[in-house]
């Protein structure tokens, strides 16, 4: 069976989560590979969330926060970006491809941007193949995920 990436999207309640909602209302098309987890702000993102998601076999993680300067809590999204950069560094140090992690900024009015982000990441992760940490039983003999 063809590999389809599983993506975790850590979405800020005030922008990306609302944008995902709007994308649905707009009937914007995007792949069903994403699982959205709502956070009160991307400032809530802890490096542990990202690391453990990859450990448990998720193929890609998106952190989606407000536009810079538009954070409901002033600077949560700016802090999240620095944490994402730090997480990328640690993942690279561990030998893991940090391109599986990305942060995006968008407003709650950007339903189509949300769909575009999911499309972009899905394409990228299809190219990267399955997370090498996925449990063996989830793989076919060819190394693709069933």
């Amino acid at each position: 069976m063809n590999y389809e990436p599983k993506i975790l999207a850590l979405c800020c309640h005030y922008c990306a989560y609302a944008a995902a909602d709007l994308a649905g209302s707009m009937r914007a098309q995007y792949p069903p590979n994403v699982r959205v987890l709502r956070l009160p702000c991307t400032g809530k993102v802890d490096m542990g969330y990202i690391m453990r998601a990859f450990e448990s076999g998720v193929d890609g993680v998106i952190v989606a926060g407000c536009l810079e300067g538009g954070c409901h809590f002033q600077e949560g999204n700016l802090r999240a970006r620095r944490r994402v950069e730090m997480a990328k560094n640690v993942l690279t140090e561990a030998g893991f491809d940090s391109n599986r992690l990305e942060m995006f900024n968008l407003s709650s009015a950007e339903g189509s941007t949300f769909a575009e982000i999911i499309n972009t990441m899905t394409e990228r992760l299809r190219g990267l193949g399955p997370n090498p940490l996925r449990h063996e039983r989830e793989r076919t003999p060819e190394g693709t995920v069933a």
Partner: protein
């Protein structure tokens, strides 16, 4: 506080590769405050190690614990079972904590997960700066509470070296000249005349130069010399 910084994940992995059961042990003291070895960092480093091992298809079990302080035996007692389970412990404490764990468990290999850097302060969020060398004979009172031993790159006690430029040390343009800071501070306090006095000889035997230091407080000991 004691300020530390985490070691490279690949270096840790290389040191631990022969052990199956690994306990990553955090400390709730100074290294939690400087965001290097607290509960959150234990989780992050453990995850990174698991990822690194699994990518190389190495089988290891990594558990996580954090105790109040690793430099006190009383708190170490809380993790006896976990240490007995472990083939090796990665201590995310300062050098004192690592050695306290090793002394308590003579047969368990203990590895430092951090590099202990210095005694310092949180200068601003995310920036820590060295302020004290623990020289054992504090002279801050003489120098306007700016430490010449630590803040002067050459630890000069009797005046500046003469190679500072615009208040910056010759070793790095972003490093303040310790003696400029001392001068400015004493001037602001109206106590520049204290610098006219010759600096007393520093007793370096009180510092680490005199060997590993021990302080004994008989009034605090449970078992005193009178009991013997």
């Amino acid at each position: 506080m004691i300020v530390a910084h985490r070691k490279n994940i690949q270096d840790l992995k290389a040191a631990l590769t022969e052990y199956k059961n690994i306990l990553v042990l955090g400390c709730g003291g100074c290294v939690t405050v400087c965001l290097a070895g607290g509960e959150r960092e234990v989780g992050m480093i453990s995850s990174a190690l698991r990822i690194a091992f699994r990518l190389d298809e190495e089988e290891h079990e990594i558990r996580e614990e954090t105790i109040e302080r690793q430099c006190e035996n009383q708190f170490i007692e809380d993790i006896l079972d976990e240490v007995q389970w472990a083939d090796a412990v990665v201590s995310l404490a300062c050098g004192a904590g690592v050695q306290a764990i090793a002394e308590r468990f003579p047969l368990v290999p203990v590895y430092p997960g951090l590099d202990t850097k210095f005694i310092g302060i949180l200068q601003e969020q995310g920036v820590w700066a060295e302020k004290c060398t623990a020289c054992g004979k504090c002279v801050l009172g003489t120098y306007g509470a700016v430490c010449p031993v630590t803040r002067c790159s050459k630890s000069l006690l009797s005046g500046p070296c003469g190679f500072a430029h615009n208040g910056k040390c010759e070793i790095a343009p972003d490093r303040d000249c310790g003696w400029q800071l001392i001068y400015d501070r004493l001037k602001a306090l109206g106590k520049l005349d204290t610098l006219l006095e010759p600096a007393p000889l520093q007793d370096w035997s009180q510092s680490h130069e005199g060997g590993c230091r021990v302080i004994v407080r008989e009034d605090q000991r449970v078992k005193t010399t009178l009991d013997k």
